[in-house]
Symmetry: D2
Subunit: 270 residues, 4 copies
């Protein structure tokens, strides 16, 4: 596991990130791997998935059993304590052009620095809460970049009065407003035939607990996808908006990404 950082001209600051490399990465200096961008939630940073989500333990176990292929997992830092004035969010907001940073600086930086295969068929994205919404938005707006999206307890949209309270914090207000502007549900509703066809080329998965505060928007997203004829898996397990749910989600998510990565290769090779 590597914790490193990148200096961003776009954001005007240095951002940390975490990379989980395959166990024998160094012993196979010519091997290239699929890459999974795994996004954290609001108020969290790149460390959450590794500390609380135990990605490394789960990955080691499932790779050993053959259920999961070796892959590189990358978690950028798009957050921190927003009430202390730290920006949070994966999309562009006035003053925080994170989406530009992600696609123009961060992703190229990672993919030149680490031995990823580097094509769409071997690049996937997933995340929880704000990161589940972020994964979905990135999949929608950059369908040529990812072969699969796995959204957990995802912030797919926000009611007019929903979202975390701002407590006077301007960045929180901007965040809530932007979530509505980037509604993943409206995106599907408004998509024309060409866009829908592109969305069909991605493998979509939504995983949300029955007690999750974001249950309704996750269901609405699934129904909108289904009604638009875009295949999407849905699972509702027991649980709420917490790490116990997201840690156990990895047992479905990692084999799912593996299947997506190998499916594409598999079809290409025949």
């Amino acid at each position: 596991m590597v914790v490193d950082s990148i200096s961003s001209p776009t954001l005007g600051e240095t951002r940390t990130y975490t990379v989980l490399l395959p166990r024998n990465y160094d012993q196979n200096p010519d091997k290239r791997y699929p890459v999974l961008y795994l996004l954290h939630g609001i108020m969290d940073t790149n460390e959450g998935w590794y500390r609380n989500g135990r990605v490394k333990s789960v990955m080691d176990k499932l790779v050993e059993s053959g259920e999961v292929c070796e892959m590189i997992v990358v978690t950028p830092n798009a957050g921190g304590n927003i009430y202390e004035g730290v920006w949070n969010g994966y999309f562009n907001m006035p003053g925080w052009p994170y989406e530009d940073f992600f696609f123009n600086e961060f992703l190229p930086h990672i993919e030149s620095r680490y031995r990823v295969i580097g094509d769409r068929a071997h690049r996937a994205i997933g995340g929880l809460s704000m990161g589940g919404g972020g994964s979905t938005i990135y999949g929608q707006r950059h369908p040529d970049m990812f072969c699969a999206v796995y959204a957990m307890s995802a912030l797919m949209d926000l009611d007019a009065n929903g979202g975390l309270p701002s407590y006077g914090q301007e960045k929180m207000k901007i965040f809530n407003r932007t979530v509505r502007e980037y509604s993943t549900i409206d995106f599907v509703r408004r998509a024309n035939d060409e866009t829908r066809e592109k969305l069909r080329s991605i493998a979509w998965f939504v995983d949300c607990g029955d007690d999750d505060v974001l249950f309704d928007v996750d269901i609405a997203f699934y129904q909108t996808m289904r009604d638009a004829g875009i295949p999407c898996q849905l699972r509702v397990r027991d649980g709420a908006h917490n790490w116990e749910y997201w840690n156990t989600a990895l047992y479905t998510a990692l084999p799912y990404f593996t299947r997506a990565f190998t499916k594409e290769t598999y079809n290409q090779s025949k």
Copy 2:
């Protein structure tokens, strides 16, 4: 497993039913058991759960492992091939007063003939599709009778144009119309405080596949329950409207009923 029948003055005909007795039922002539009414779907009869659902195999396994308590399972026959003019349905319809038959004749017949404990705390109901809707309606209209309801792929309601086609079959038209009249969702919406309080005394569980044709009404039921402050579990697993889903649902349903049966006793005894 016993297949027997009851002559019903209410329905004006003889109806078959199936009873699955605990393995050592005969060796324990003084022992009384909880009872589960397990309802089949439209076009099916009392045999489905035993032939396709393999209730006996699953029950034997889970009782042996201690996950499930011994219970008596009872499946009435409320169906058959509706297009051949056979009535289907658990509620009262003009010409088919099945709900009256169930509570006034069938249930008393079973509970005097077999050694059930016979109180609400040890009586539960569940079922699939039409039987999932039936279980929910019976729970709603007779909350003093059941401690738990488990609805699988449940016909909770029907859109104006939804339902199986009638193909000119009058009984099918009546059935579809009656499902709307007995909407389980409207029931919750219209429930006053007293009724809601009664509904809270039941343990509710909804289990529906992400590819089920009845997905939307099952989700709507769950959301209405949650918004009414009536605790209800929801699980969405992979699958559609078929026996593979319902057979595997038993692994959750039977421990769930067990927990309901023992919870009540457990609380009473302290």
Copy 3:
């Protein structure tokens, strides 16, 4: 699903078999698929896996969700009621050269008749009980033919006094004796370095219930494999020697085979 038959000079009789083809097999006349040989148990025939094991339902569900790749499933008939004088068994016995039939006649027949990819990397074998033992023996004696073996409740070996009673039936006596001669455990123990290396090229999986009568030999096989340094997965779930166990085993087995098929392609293609 196709039920067909093959006339065997080796066995001197005609044998039936069942083939489960991918849903869109006919619409994709140029596409070739991986093949899974799925073996039945003693006293059973090619029909068991489809009637009681519900392979088609499970396959449809898991293919739709993306967890399983499309494949052709083939079940030969190597049994029937042995007490009525019908031969059972996958190995060669005096008077029943089934292994010869399988590799010289049956497999070539299938693989010329159906569009299989036809290399080792896309051919796997699995089975239950006698067919779990058969799968393992075939993997051991023909490691160049299969990339993966999944053995359920497998007849890996037999104690001196074990096995079904013969009731004077000679074919049963021969069967029991031959199981001991083809002990899968002794095979691993006696394997030299070269053979062990070949065995390591196969993905092995053993799945056996805690109440299975064959539990001890399955565990002994796993321990022998592990001690010989040959990677092998083991799962012990709740259950005994019955269809409820084998039906639910498919939820692990089919993704496991998928992973094996795509892993090989995946590695070859890079």
Copy 4:
């Protein structure tokens, strides 16, 4: 969650412990609860189960869904860094009479301080590794005290040359030797009819990963129990000797304890 300590005359020192109380413990001042003693492994302390095992998260979730009854969970501290000269172990050793402390001082202290029901039918024990062995030994030597034992990755016995290296640390040598003296397998083998009958009154469960270093002794224990006619459940899941395995084990263990607690009450009450 309460972290507290007890001064022990027997051990001649003060020992910490952790207690997890039901969510509404304070609001129900007259209610009494079942109690689960949950034991940690070697080199660990009372904090492990709460920090790495996330007992509280899992408990909250399963209580909310109704799968688990409210209970009090108690973890004593029987360890720490043994290489720094700290005693580890649940049995009596020369210089470390922990079993005496547990039954004569610790358990009475807890059960007078917290509102436990206090009878055998509502007292269970479980644990991981050293604590899985400890749970089993306590169940064997005090069968009148516990209704259920759940042993994870359990140190059931030790080969002549097995165990952690001593690195000259005397306490480690004593520990390894004592594990052999308290072999849970020998205990069952040597048990006379009366003892076996007592062991049958406990619900036993063994849960051990296929890659666990203690796999062989856990299997041997299960086989010995089965051969002695003492019902015992076994599950082998994917995994090794680590927290990811033990955290996920709670999803089976807590409902299992619940079933044991309510079963006893349930049977008593009828």
